[in-house]
C-alpha cells in the first residue's frame, strides 16, 4: 500500500513539474512586464506557444544529421527526469534514490552536452557561438555548484535532496551564515544555468551577447517546443531545489495523510510564486553583463561557496 502511494506521489510529481513549468515562465514574464509598466502577455502564453509550435511542421537544415533531430527528445527527457527527482511538495519520492544532488546536476549536464552538439550540427556560426559560450558558462558554474553542495552535505551529512530537506528542518541546524552564503552561491549558479539576466537574456533573439537562444537558432516546430519545455522545466527545477533545500517547510513527508500532501502542494505553489517574483525583480533591476564579465560573477559564486564551507569548519559544526 505504502509503495503504491509512493509511486502515486512520484507520478504526480512528474505530471506537476511538467504542467507547472510553463506557468512559472509565464508568471515571471508577467511580473517583469508589470514592473516595466507594460501589460505583458497573459500568464498562460507559454502553453499557447508550446501548443502552436508542436502543431507546426519542423524545418530541418539539409546539413543537419540525426544528432540535430534526436537532441530535443533527449534534452527534454533528461531534464524532465531530473526535475521529477527533486522533491517539490513531498519527500519520499520512490525513485529519489536513483540520483542525489550531484547526479541531478550531472543529468542537466548531459542535456546541455546534447544541445551544444546540436548547436554545432548545422554548421553555422550562430550555433557555434551559442554552444561555445554555453559550455564556458557551464564550466564556470559547475565548481561553484559543487562548493554549495559541499556546504550542504557538511551540514546535513548527505547529498540526497530529501535527506537534506529533512535535516535542515530540524531545530539544531537553525540559521547560519554559511547557509546564507551557500544560498547566494546557488542562486547565482541557477541564474547562470538558466540563461537569465545578467548572464544571458531569454527574451532576445538577435543580439551578439545571446547564448542559449543562439544555440537553438536553427530549431523550429516540435523540436523547438521540446527545447522550450525543457528550459521551462530547468527553471522550475532550480527554483524547486532552492526551495526544497533552503525553505523546506511544509514539504509533506511519506506516510502523512492526503491533507498533508494538499498542504504541501499549496505551499509549494506559494514558494514557486515567491521565487518567480524575486527572479523577475532581480532581472528588472540589473543590467545584462558583457560575456567576459561572467567569470567574475561565477567566480564570486565560487568564493561564496568556499567561504560557506570554511565558515562551517571554523565554527566546528560536527
Amino acid at each position: 500500500m505504502a509503495v503504491i502511494l509512493d509511486l502515486l506521489v512520484q507520478l504526480c510529481q512528474m505530471l506537476i513539474v511538467l504542467a507547472l513549468a510553463p506557468l512559472l515562465t509565464g508568471y515571471v514574464r508577467k511580473v517583469k512586464a508589470h514592473l516595466l509598466r507594460r501589460q505583458g502577455p497573459p500568464v498562460l502564453q507559454p502553453y499557447r506557444d508550446l501548443l502552436r509550435l508542436v502543431r507546426k511542421e519542423a524545418v530541418v537544415a539539409v546539413s543537419a544529421s540525426w544528432v540535430f533531430r534526436v537532441a530535443p527528445y533527449l534534452v527534454f527527457g533528461t531534464t524532465w527526469v531530473a526535475a521529477a527527482l527533486v522533491p517539490t511538495f513531498a519527500t519520499g519520492l520512490i525513485f529519489s534514490y536513483a540520483a542525489d544532488m550531484i547526479a541531478i546536476v550531472a543529468l542537466l549536464g548531459s542535456a546541455r552536452f546534447m544541445l551544444a552538439l546540436a548547436g554545432l550540427d548545422v554548421g553555422t556560426s550562430f550555433g557555434g557561438i551559442g554552444s561555445s559560450r554555453e559550455m564556458m558558462i557551464a564550466s564556470l558554474a559547475e565548481p561553484a555548484m559543487l562548493m554549495a553542495v559541499f556546504t550542504l552535505s557538511l551540514l546535513a551529512g548527505s547529498t540526497q535532496l530529501s535527506s537534506i530537506a529533512a535535516s535542515l528542518q530540524s531545530p539544531e541546524i537553525g540559521l547560519r551564515i554559511s547557509l546564507a552564503l551557500a544560498l547566494v552561491a546557488l542562486v547565482m549558479v541557477a541564474i547562470a544555468e538558466n540563461a537569465r539576466i545578467p548572464i544571458d537574456n531569454p527574451a532576445t533573439h538577435l543580439e551578439l551577447t545571446m547564448v542559449h537562444e543562439a544555440m537553438i537558432l536553427e530549431y523550429s516546430g516540435r523540436h523547438l517546443a521540446l527545447i522550450e519545455a525543457a528550459s521551462n522545466l530547468k527553471l522550475l527545477l532550480y527554483v524547486s531545489i532552492i526551495a526544497c533545500v533552503f525553505f523546506p517547510w511544509g514539504i509533506a513527508v511519506s506516510g502523512q495523510g492526503f491533507g498533508a500532501y494538499l498542504l504541501g502542494a499549496s505551499i509549494y505553489l506559494v514558494k514557486l510564486a515567491g521565487g518567480g517574483f524575486l527572479l523577475a525583480v532581480f532581472e528588472t533591476v540589473i543590467a545584462k553583463m558583457r560575456v567576459f564579465r561572467v567569470p567574475d560573477f561565477l567566480g564570486a559564486a565560487l568564493m561564496l561557496g568556499f567561504l560557506a564551507a570554511l565558515l562551517l569548519f571554523v565554527t566546528q559544526v560536527r
Binding site: V81, A103, D121, S131, L140, G305
Partner: protein
C-alpha cells in the same frame, strides 16, 4: 595454475614478436600477429577476471630461474595485479581486434608488428612481477618496446623529437624507481616484494621513496609536471598503439604507484595523501586546459589522458589520507573510485583513439580544423565516438560519471579528517575536479562537434569512407562496455572488493541487500545512484514525448537551407572552428595559465587581403622547468667535453683522485 597460464601467455606473445620478425615479407603476417595477440589477450582476460571474481584462487606465486642468479624471477598473482591484468588485457584484446582492420593501412608494418606483442608482454610482466629486479626489467622492456612503436613513423616531422623526449623521460623515471627500490630493499638487499613488505622503512626513508615513486611512476602516467612527453609521444604511434599507450600503459604506471605506495611502503602518513591529492587536482585541470587549446585530434586525446590520470590520483591520494587516519571505509571509497576510473578510462580512451584512428585512415587528417561533417560519411564511427565523448565527459548514464561521482563522494567525506590542511585542501581539489569535468565536456563538444558535425571543410572529409568491420566491432564492444559499466556499476564495484580489502582492509557495501543494483558509497541516507533506473526513465520519457507529439501533434518535416538568421553562407569556412569554439575559455583561463595573447592583423581600408588573428600560447612549465634543465645539461656537457681530450697523465690523475675521494668517503662513513 592461473599464474602459470598467464606466464605462458607472456611467452606466447614474445614468440609472436619473434615470429613477426621471421615472417618479415609475408603479406598475411599482420593478421597472424594481431590474431595471436587477440587470442592470448582474450585468454588472459578471462583468466584474470575469473581469478578476481574467485578471490580464493589469488596469492599464487612462482619462481623462474631467470634474472639475477641469486634472486631468480619471482611472480605473484594477487587481487591488485589481477584487476590490472583485466584492464590491460581488455585494452590489449580490443587493440588487437582494431589492429586486424587498421593494421592493413600501415605503411611500415615491419616496424610495428614485432614490437606490438612484445609491448603487450612487457605490460603483463610488470603486473606479475614480485621482485624489484623483474619489475624494473619488465618496466624498462615495456618502455623500450613502446618507444620502438612510437618511432614506427620516424620520418614524419616531430616524431623523432617526440621519441627522443619519451626515451629521456622513461629512463629518468626508471632511474627514480631504481633508487626507490634500492631504498626499500635497504642495506640487506631483500629485493623480493615479500621481504620489502615485511621490513617497513623508517618515515624519512619512506618519504623519499614516495617522492621517487611519484617521479618514476608519475612520469610514466603523465602526472604534471612530468607529462610533457606524453602528448607528443602517444599520438606519434599508430592509433591502436596510441590507444594502448594512453588507455593501458598509463594504468601500468598507476599500478606501479599503487603497488609500491599502498602495498610495499607500509602505513602512510597523512601528508602523503595531501601531496598526491594536490598533484592530482593540478594534473586534472592543467591536462584539460591543454586539451582545450589543442586542435590535433590525437594530441587532444593524449592531453585528456593527463587529465584522467589526475582524477585517478585524486582518488588514490584520498585513499592514502583516509588510511593514514584509520578510516578504512572512506579509504576503500577513494580507492574504489580511483580503480574504477582506471577501468573506465582505459575503455573510453581506447574507444576514442580508435575513433581518431578511423578518422585518420578515412581522411588522412588529424587536424580537426580541416574536418567536419563526418557523421554523414562515417555514421558508425561517429556514434562510437559520441558515446566515448559522453563517457569521458562524466555524463550520466555512462561509466565515466560513476567513477567521478564516487570520487566526489570520497571528497565529501573529507571534513571528517582531523588535519586542517586536508580539510581545506580537499574541497578545493573537489572544485578543481568539478571544473575539469565541466571543461572536459566543453572539450568533447568541440572535438566531436568540429570533427563529425557541421559541413566538411576539405575534400577528403567529403569523400571519407566508413572503416572496416573488425575496427567497428572493436569500437562497438567498447561502446557496450561504456554503457554497461555505467548502468550496472554495482557488479564492477563488487569485483573491486578483494583489491580494496587487500590494500586498505575494507570495501564498499556489496550489491546484495540493495535494491535494483543501486550503488551506495557509505550509507543509503547519505547518497546513492542508480544509472539503470535513470537510463530507463530517460528512455521512457523521451520516447513518450516523441510518441505523443508524433501521434497527436505533427510529424511533418521539411528539409531546407540553414536559417542562420537569414544570412546563410554556403562556404564551409564560415562555420565555427575549433579555435573559435575554445576562444571564450582561452580568454578566461588561457590568459593566466598559458599567457595567451591574441593579436589581430587588420588590413587598412581599401586593401583586400584577409584579416588574420594570431594566437600565441606559452607553456610555462616547459619554459620554467625543462628549458633551464636542458640548458644546465648542455652547459655541463660542454664543460665535461674537455674530459674527452686529456693526456694520459691527466686521465691517470683523474682515476687516482677518484679513488682517493672514494676511499676518504668510505673512511668517514665507517
Amino acid at each position: 595454475m592461473v599464474l602459470k597460464g598467464l606466464l605462458w601467455g607472456v611467452a606466447a606473445l614474445l614468440a609472436t614478436g619473434v615470429l613477426a620478425l621471421a615472417a618479415a615479407r609475408r603479406p598475411a603476417k599482420g593478421i597472424l600477429v594481431y590474431g595471436l595477440s587477440l587470442a592470448v589477450a582474450l585468454a588472459a582476460l578471462v583468466a584474470a577476471t575469473a581469478s578476481l571474481l574467485a578471490p580464493a584462487s589469488l596469492g599464487a606465486t612462482s619462481t623462474l630461474p631467470l634474472g639475477l642468479p641469486w634472486l631468480g624471477a619471482h611472480f605473484r598473482l594477487d587481487a591488485l595485479s589481477a584487476f590490472f591484468l583485466v584492464v590491460i588485457n581488455l585494452g590489449g584484446a580490443a587493440a588487437s581486434l582494431f589492429g586486424l582492420g587498421y593494421g592493413r593501412h600501415e605503411e611500415t608494418p615491419e616496424r610495428v608488428l614485432p614490437f606490438y606483442p612484445a609491448f603487450l608482454a612487457g605490460m603483463n610482466l610488470v603486473l606479475l612481477a614480485a621482485d624489484a629486479f623483474t619489475f624494473l626489467f619488465s618496466w624498462e622492456f615495456m618502455s623500450l618496446s613502446s618507444w620502438a612503436l612510437v618511432m614506427a613513423h620516424h620520418r614524419r616531422p616531430g616524431n623523432a623529437a617526440a621519441g627522443y623526449l619519451y626515451l629521456l623521460m622513461a629512463s629518468f623515471g626508471t632511474l627514480a624507481l631504481l633508487l626507490a627500490f634500492g631504498l626499500l630493499a635497504g642495506p640487506s638487499g631483500g629485493y623480493e616484494f615479500q621481504a620489502i613488505r615485511q621490513a617497513a622503512p623508517a618515515p624519512t626513508i619512506a618519504a623519499v621513496v614516495l617522492v621517487l615513486v611519484l617521479v618514476g611512476a608519475g612520469s610514466k602516467a603523465g602526472l604534471v609536471p612530468l607529462h610533457v612527453w606524453l602528448p607528443l609521444a602517444h599520438p606519434a604511434a599508430p592509433s591502436h598503439v596510441s590507444a594502448l599507450m594512453s588507455g593501458v600503459m598509463t594504468k601500468v604506471a598507476v599500478y606501479g604507484f599503487a603497488r609500491i605506495v599502498l602495498d610495499l611502503l607500509g602505513p602512510p602518513l597523512w601528508w602523503w595523501g595531501a601531496l598526491v591529492v594536490l598533484l592530482g587536482g593540478m594534473t586534472a585541470v592543467l591536462g584539460v586546459l591543454h586539451a582545450l587549446m589543442e586542435h590535433d585530434l590525437k594530441r587532444l586525446l593524449a592531453y585528456h589522458t593527463v587529465e584522467n590520470i589526475g582524477i585517478i590520483f585524486i582518488g588514490l591520494g584520498l585513499a592514502l589520507a583516509f588510511e593514514a587516519n584509520a578510516m578504512p571505509a572512506a579509504a576503500a571509497l577513494g580507492l574504489t573510485a580511483a580503480l574504477f576510473h582506471v577501468f573506465n578510462h582505459s575503455v573510453f580512451k581506447s574507444l576514442l583513439f580508435y575513433g581518431a584512428g578511423a578518422v585518420l585512415t578515412a581522411t588522412g587528417e588529424r587536424n580537426m580544423e580541416q574536418l567536419g561533417g563526418l557523421i554523414h560519411r562515417m555514421p558508425h564511427t561517429a556514434f562510437a565516438f559520441l558515446i566515448g565523448s559522453a563517457a569521458i565527459s562524466a555524463l550520466p548514464p555512462f561509466n565515466g560519471f560513476v567513477s567521478e561521482w564516487l570520487t566526489f563522494q570520497a571528497i565529501l567525506l573529507s571534513p571528517a579528517l582531523p588535519q586542517w590542511l586536508l580539510k581545506f585542501l580537499v574541497p578545493a581539489v573537489g572544485a578543481m575536479l568539478a571544473l575539469s569535468a565541466a571543461l572536459a565536456a566543453a572539450c568533447f563538444v568541440k572535438a566531436f562537434g568540429i570533427t563529425f558535425l557541421g559541413r566538411p571543410r576539405i575534400a577528403a572529409a567529403c569523400n571519407a569512407e566508413e572503416v572496416d568491420a573488425p575496427s567497428l566491432v572493436a569500437m562497438y564492444a567498447l561502446v557496450a562496455l561504456c554503457l554497461i559499466a555505467g548502468i550496472l556499476p554495482a557488479y564492477f564495484i563488487d569485483a573491486l572488493a578483494p583489491v580494496t580489502h587487500a590494500l586498505v582492509g575494507a570495501s564498499l557495501p556489496s550489491r546484495e541487500g540493495l535494491e535494483w543494483l543501486t550503488i551506495v558509497p557509505v550509507a543509503e541516507s547519505r547518497s546513492s545512484y542508480n544509472g539503470l533506473l535513470l537510463l530507463a526513465f530517460i528512455a521512457a520519457s523521451a520516447g513518450l514525448a516523441g510518441e505523443v507529439i508524433h501521434r497527436w501533434a505533427s510529424n511533418r518535416t521539411r528539409k531546407s537551407d540553414a536559417w542562420d538568421c537569414g544570412f546563410p553562407d554556403r562556404s564551409p569556412v564560415t562555420q565555427y572552428t575549433a579555435g573559435s569554439f575554445s576562444q571564450p575559455i582561452r580568454r578566461v583561463f588561457g590568459t593566466v595559465v598559458f599567457r595567451a595573447r591574441e593579436t589581430v592583423d587588420l588590413p587598412p581600408p581599401g586593401e583586400t587581403r584577409a584579416a588574420r588573428l594570431h594566437v600565441e600560447l606559452r607553456d610555462l612549465l616547459w619554459e620554467t622547468l625543462y628549458l633551464p634543465a636542458a640548458a644546465i645539461v648542455g652547459f655541463a656537457a660542454e664543460k665535461l667535453n674537455r674530459v674527452q681530450f686529456m693526456t694520459i697523465r691527466g686521465y691517470l690523475t683523474l682515476v687516482f683522485s677518484a679513488l682517493v675521494v672514494l676511499l676518504a668517503i668510505l673512511a668517514i662513513w665507517q
